[in-house]
């Protein structure tokens, strides 16, 4: 059973179409990234799937329950960390967690044990008795996620979990997300950072203007656009000439004494290129370039933003 099944999801505010027929399938235990620029509809998708707002059209099943008829059952199994921190600013870190425990109707002992464990796990033990006003951005975000985890959700929505964080906090957050994934929790995260989706997600859907414009593993998405190549650099023009003769499909860069040779990826293709080059040509430097998600992203969304 898939954790999330969505077909034809639509949402508009007056004339402003935010979601224009979104289809999504997220497997149990998968880390799924919804990638897109600001205004693409990422947050709206999360708000619909987490039962906050109704869709105008389309069907959505979350954890096996239809959103329209089983919202209560959906809520019992999900955890949501929104884009803006949803912590109680007048309660300490520990009190925030205990409040969640009460609302989840956990028995007192379990409530305390779970809160203590989460404070330790999220490195908030020292801050536990302080108000969130004294926290850094990263600490607030960690408390926010710890609150989400009090109920051991099977599916977690993370809406732009690292937006506004400094690089160190971002890496801490990535590690936390990876740890959650190892525990088998299904994660739907939204991000506008391509690197983040690449780092964390098993599968990525690129959302643009309310439509999914591409969907697949990071590797599949990268393969969808050309641009993978090997770059060979030489110490003199004679070597470059020799290499260009041996590899006629390469593109010369005379100024840099470099040759750019298309490469499908994988060791086999690399060996074949080197074999064609032969032993006689002295190569000063070799580097392998795979397109990154930025290339994918711009290729997929370019026509829209013109």
């Amino acid at each position: 059973m898939n954790a999330v099944c969505v077909t034809g999801l639509r949402k508009a505010y007056h004339d402003n179409v935010v979601l224009d027929g979104v289809d999504l399938d997220i497997g149990e235990g998968e880390v799924f990234a919804l990638l897109g620029p600001n205004g693409a509809g990422k947050t709206t998708t999360v708000r619909i799937l987490s039962t906050l707002i109704p869709a105008d059209a389309g069907t959505a099943t979350v954890l096996g329950h239809d959103l329209r008829t089983g919202a209560g059952a959906v809520r019992a199994g999900i955890g949501v960390t929104g884009q803006f921190s949803a912590v109680d600013n007048l309660l300490t870190g520990a009190e925030n967690l205990l409040l969640m425990g009460r609302l989840l109707h956990l028995p007192a002992a379990q409530r305390r044990a779970r809160a203590t464990a989460l404070l330790e796990r999220f490195d908030l033990v020292e801050a536990a008795r302080r108000l969130p006003a004294t926290y850094s951005g990263g600490m607030r975000r960690r408390l926010d996620i710890a609150m989400t985890l009090m109920g051991r959700p099977r599916l977690i929505f993370l809406d732009e979990p690292t937006t506004g964080l400094d690089p160190r906090s971002r890496h801490t957050m990535w590690q936390l997300i990876r740890d959650l994934a190892t525990e088998g929790v299904t994660i739907l995260l939204t991000t506008q950072y391509l690197e983040e989706a690449d780092q964390l997600a098993d599968r990525i859907a690129v959302l643009d203007h309310g439509r999914i414009v591409a969907d697949g593993t990071p590797a599949e998405l990268k393969r969808r656009i050309p641009g993978a190549h090997i770059r060979l650099r030489f110490s003199d023009a004679a070597s470059l000439d020799a290499a260009a003769g041996a590899l006629p499909d390469g593109t010369r860069d005379d100024a840099e004494l470099a040759l750019r040779v298309p490469h499908e990826g994988g060791i086999g293709s690399l060996r074949a290129i080197l074999a064609r080059l032969g032993d006689g040509v002295a190569v000063a430097d070799l580097s392998i370039h795979t397109p990154d998600l930025d290339d994918v992203f711009f290729a997929l969304t370019a026509k829209e933003s013109r």
Partner: protein
């Protein structure tokens, strides 16, 4: 059962907020006390001389205090409206709404906390009134009636201020929305001067608006007289305001935050 447990949790949360940030609570005691002192010591002389039979022969302070008590109940609306709006704009209500928490618990927690705070502030203001010469003649049953009307009025205004807090876009707006409840309606009631002393149009309004029914009931009970029909009118108004506020709040809460 879970609905009650959730409401209790939210009530506890609000009480903790009040303890942690008591400034609003203090303000909702200080503000009516300032009016009390102002009207007793500064304006009370000429006003007291002019109200005549409406005072039933008692000093102006005895006429005034029921109005001040009503103002104290109304002063609590600001806190509730602001707290609800802070919750809404701070994102935490969205968190609650994605949890399997009973829907109305957040709001009833706010209403409960409002009532609890109001019982405290009205007690404090009553004590202050006794210090400046207020001499109630209420019977035990009369005091019970006073407590009942304060309670009913507090519940009514609490639901209304919850709705204000839900529909306000900013915390400042949530506060402003309660200003008519805190000042305009008390002044356009018989809280400070009898309605009979007002110009015709305003007099009609003052005689028929809920704040007057509330203040007249409190005044009768505190003076040791039965509240009579006015008491039932006041309770009916409270029930109507509470119901309207509740329905409005429920609709606003369902509509969501954005």
């Amino acid at each position: 059962m879970t609905a009650l447990a959730d409401a209790t949790t939210m009530f506890g949360r609000e009480l903790r907020h009040t303890v942690r940030y008591p400034l609003m609570l203090i303000a909702s005691i200080v503000s009516p006390v300032v009016f009390l002192l102002l009207f007793v010591y500064v304006l009370g002389g000429p006003i007291g001389g002019g109200i005549g039979a409406a005072a039933h022969g008692a000093p102006y302070v005895d006429f005034l205090v029921p109005g001040i008590l009503m103002m104290t109940v109304a002063a609590g609306t600001s806190t509730t409206s602001i707290n609800v709006c802070t919750d809404m704009t701070g994102g935490i209500i969205d968190r609650f709404r994605t949890m399997a928490v009973s829907r109305g618990a957040v709001l009833s927690g706010h209403v409960g906390a409002n009532v609890a705070r109001t019982l405290l502030t009205t007690a404090a203001v009553t004590a202050m009134a006794l210090l400046v010469g207020f001499r109630p003649e209420a019977t035990a049953a009369g005091w019970l009636g006073v407590a009942g009307i304060v309670l009913a009025f507090s519940v009514a205004l609490a639901w209304l201020s919850v709705a204000f807090g839900l529909v306000a876009k900013t915390v400042a707006g949530a506060n402003s929305a309660t200003l008519p409840l805190q000042f305009l309606l008390p002044f356009l009631s018989s809280a400070f001067v009898p309605a009979a002393a007002m110009p015709a149009g305003i007099r009609w309004f003052a005689e028929h608006q809920p704040f007057t029914a509330v203040v007249e009931s409190l005044r009768a009970l505190l003076a040791g007289r039965p509240a009579g029909t006015t008491g039932y009118v006041a309770l009916a108004w409270c029930a109507a305001i509470a119901l309207a506020g509740y329905l409005w709040a429920r609709a606003a809460f369902r509509r969501g935050t954005r």
